[in-house]
């Protein structure tokens, strides 16, 4: 089990314990015509190989802006990375050239976007989009990539992958699209998966299957996961640690059991209390 040891100097720990991703003092602004939105304010987070960090918090609190900062995908302008560093495997992603970062994106670090349509090309068949990731990052042949893409669609629980492979995004249901996006992210076996609300369009049985798949990949490959979600029950079942965001700041972070047992922040308590439950309590 991973336990938070904030007092230990990270550089003193053995390599496998050093966080794979470490965000220190990140601030992100959106500079609009007449105003500036301070979307992320001095946020520090970390996640180790094999670990799941859940990020929860108010709508508009800066979760997506933080997540998109890692592969540096916030639209710029208006986005400005005002301060901080994002260390991936010890390298500051904010300081890399676009070319260097391009090699890491999609291969070492994969994203599941909150809005599927921002990553799926409406004019391309979905199977080809999954296969393209592989061809781009591994240099597989067309036929190999096709087989691997079919496996990837199957792996995320898409029934009849051969039929779906040939379809366009608009021919899929919301949840099928979401699963295609997850397949695209996982097919290259990334070291870090950043998943922004990845199961919002999935029924609970498929959701459970996807979360199980993530855990399997974590066990097998040591994939680290940053899971942004509004569903605290998913956090309870899946995450090792949780960070709670409110108004651009991390207001509380810690081991899931500790945060659920003894929420220190008022906003965390409010979230836990407001969660609708299936059984009457």
């Amino acid at each position: 089990m991973s336990i938070d040891r904030p007092t230990t100097d990270p550089s003193q720990r053995p390599a496998h314990e050093r966080p794979l991703l470490e965000i220190n003092g990140l601030s992100v602004d959106f500079r609009l015509e007449t105003s500036v939105v301070h979307a992320v304010r001095d946020v520090s987070l970390h996640v180790r190989a094999g670990e799941t960090l859940a990020v929860v918090g108010e709508s508009g609190s800066g979760k997506t802006a933080t997540a998109l900062s890692v592969p540096r995908l916030n639209p710029s302008p208006p986005c400005v990375y005002a301060s901080g560093e994002i260390l991936f495997d010890g390298r500051d992603l904010l300081a890399l050239s676009e070319r260097e970062l391009g090699r890491i994106r999609g291969r070492d670090i994969a994203m599941v976007f909150q809005d599927p349509m921002t990553c799926l090309d409406p004019l391309q068949r979905v199977g080809a989009q999954v296969a393209e990731v592989l061809r781009h990052h591994t240099g597989m042949s067309r036929a190999e990539a096709r087989d691997a893409a079919l496996d990837a669609l199957d792996e995320v629980g898409i029934p009849d992958p051969a039929l779906r492979y040939r379809q366009y995004p608009h021919e899929l249901s919301g949840g099928l699209r979401q699963r295609v996006m997850i397949a695209t992210a996982l097919v290259g076996r990334p070291r870090l998966l950043i998943a922004d609300e990845p199961t919002t369009a999935l029924d609970v049985t498929v959701q459970s299957q996807i979360l199980d798949l993530l855990v399997t990949l974590q066990d097998k490959h040591g994939m680290a996961v940053v899971l942004i979600t509004h569903d605290l029950a998913v956090v309870a079942e899946t995450a090792d640690r949780v960070a709670v965001m409110n108004q651009g700041k991390v207001v509380e972070t810690g081991d899931v059991l500790d945060v659920f047992d003894r929420p220190a922040d008022d906003y965390t308590r409010k979230l836990l209390a407001a969660t609708p439950r299936l059984e009457a309590v």
Partner: protein, 299 residues
């Protein structure tokens, strides 16, 4: 919508929406039956939840009942009128009484339109009084009220949709759907991008409008805890068909169909000591401690 304590009220109002033998096929070479012989009545003033497997036809069914797509077979009656037989003018008059919050709101927003125009669009389309320069101040005021009702700042009206978070956009889409005070509101996963406290605000608003104005809701959701809270009746769909329809409490407490049971069993629980994936799995970090794995093998 009922409060949790209220008894599961049998559908009281008259039938507002009647679906008879609806069927929708997609595809030519391989036919995919998205909706298969669905018949259902929705009563005025009730909330009917539609739940089921991802890809089972929920969104397609809502598009059929709004007549946004043509059925392969079957009919839809709204307030006694057969939608498939209406003239374009007649359909327009009915349309103003039905609004929808789409599952993917961003895709339906014109990226070059400001929030104020997006929310005012149904008003401007259907209400001549909302058009023109003189109506502009009044329309802006109304848009401001609607935005505030869903927990957004009225001052965001001149900004563009891409400048907002997922949950903020979802609320813009709800504000737009409420602008005309429709009789029937179809909500396709309307709170999936909202944190629980904003979700509660939105659900309270919907309940309040229903109480005061007798709105009817068709509420598509994967969140059974939310369904339990808001719905009078639940319809469970699987592979294009309705497998179970009944009062919410009955369906959730004593499901008759095995698929409903399966869904209920898969609902995650809020207690981090039960059903934990993280605890059950052999931790990667402890495996690394034992020296059985190296960073390289992880690639």
């Amino acid at each position: 919508m009922t409060t949790e304590a209220a008894a599961p009220a049998p559908p009281a109002g008259k039938v507002l929406l009647e679906l008879v033998g609806l069927r929708k096929e997609f595809g030519t070479r391989t036919v995919n039956v998205a909706v298969d012989d669905v018949s259902l009545e929705v009563h005025e003033g009730e909330t009917l939840a539609l739940v089921g497997e991802s890809g089972c036809g929920k969104t397609t069914l809502t598009r059929l009942l709004l007549r946004l797509v043509e059925p392969t077979a079957g009919s839809v009656r709204f307030d006694g009128q057969d939608l498939t037989a209406l003239s374009p003018a007649g359909l327009r008059a009915v349309r103003r009484q039905m609004q929808v919050v789409l599952q993917d709101p961003y895709a339906s927003m014109n990226p070059r339109m400001r929030i104020t125009d997006i929310v005012a669009e149904p008003l401007v389309t259907h209400d001549p009084q909302a058009r023109g320069r003189r109506a502009r101040a009044r329309t802006r005021e109304r848009v401001g009220e609607l935005l505030e009702a869903v927990g957004l700042d009225a001052g965001i009206q001149d900004r563009y949709p891409h400048e907002f978070s997922g949950g903020q956009r979802q609320r813009v889409s709800i504000a737009r759907a409420l602008a005309l005070r429709p009789r029937l509101l179809v909500l396709d996963e309307p709170t999936s991008a909202l944190d629980v406290s904003v979700q509660a605000t939105v659900l309270d608003l919907l309940a309040d409008l229903q109480g005061r104005l007798g709105l009817t809701y068709v509420f598509v959701s994967h969140n059974l805890a939310v369904v339990r809270q808001v719905a009078d009746r639940v319809a469970v769909m699987r592979r294009g068909r309705l497998v179970e329809v009944g009062a919410t409490a009955a369906v959730l407490r004593t499901p008759r169909h095995p698929y409903t049971r399966q869904l209920l069993d898969a609902v995650p629980v809020l207690d981090p000591r039960r059903g934990r994936r993280a605890a059950e799995r052999g931790s990667w970090t402890s495996a690394a401690d034992r020296g059985s794995l190296t960073g390289d093998e992880s690639r």
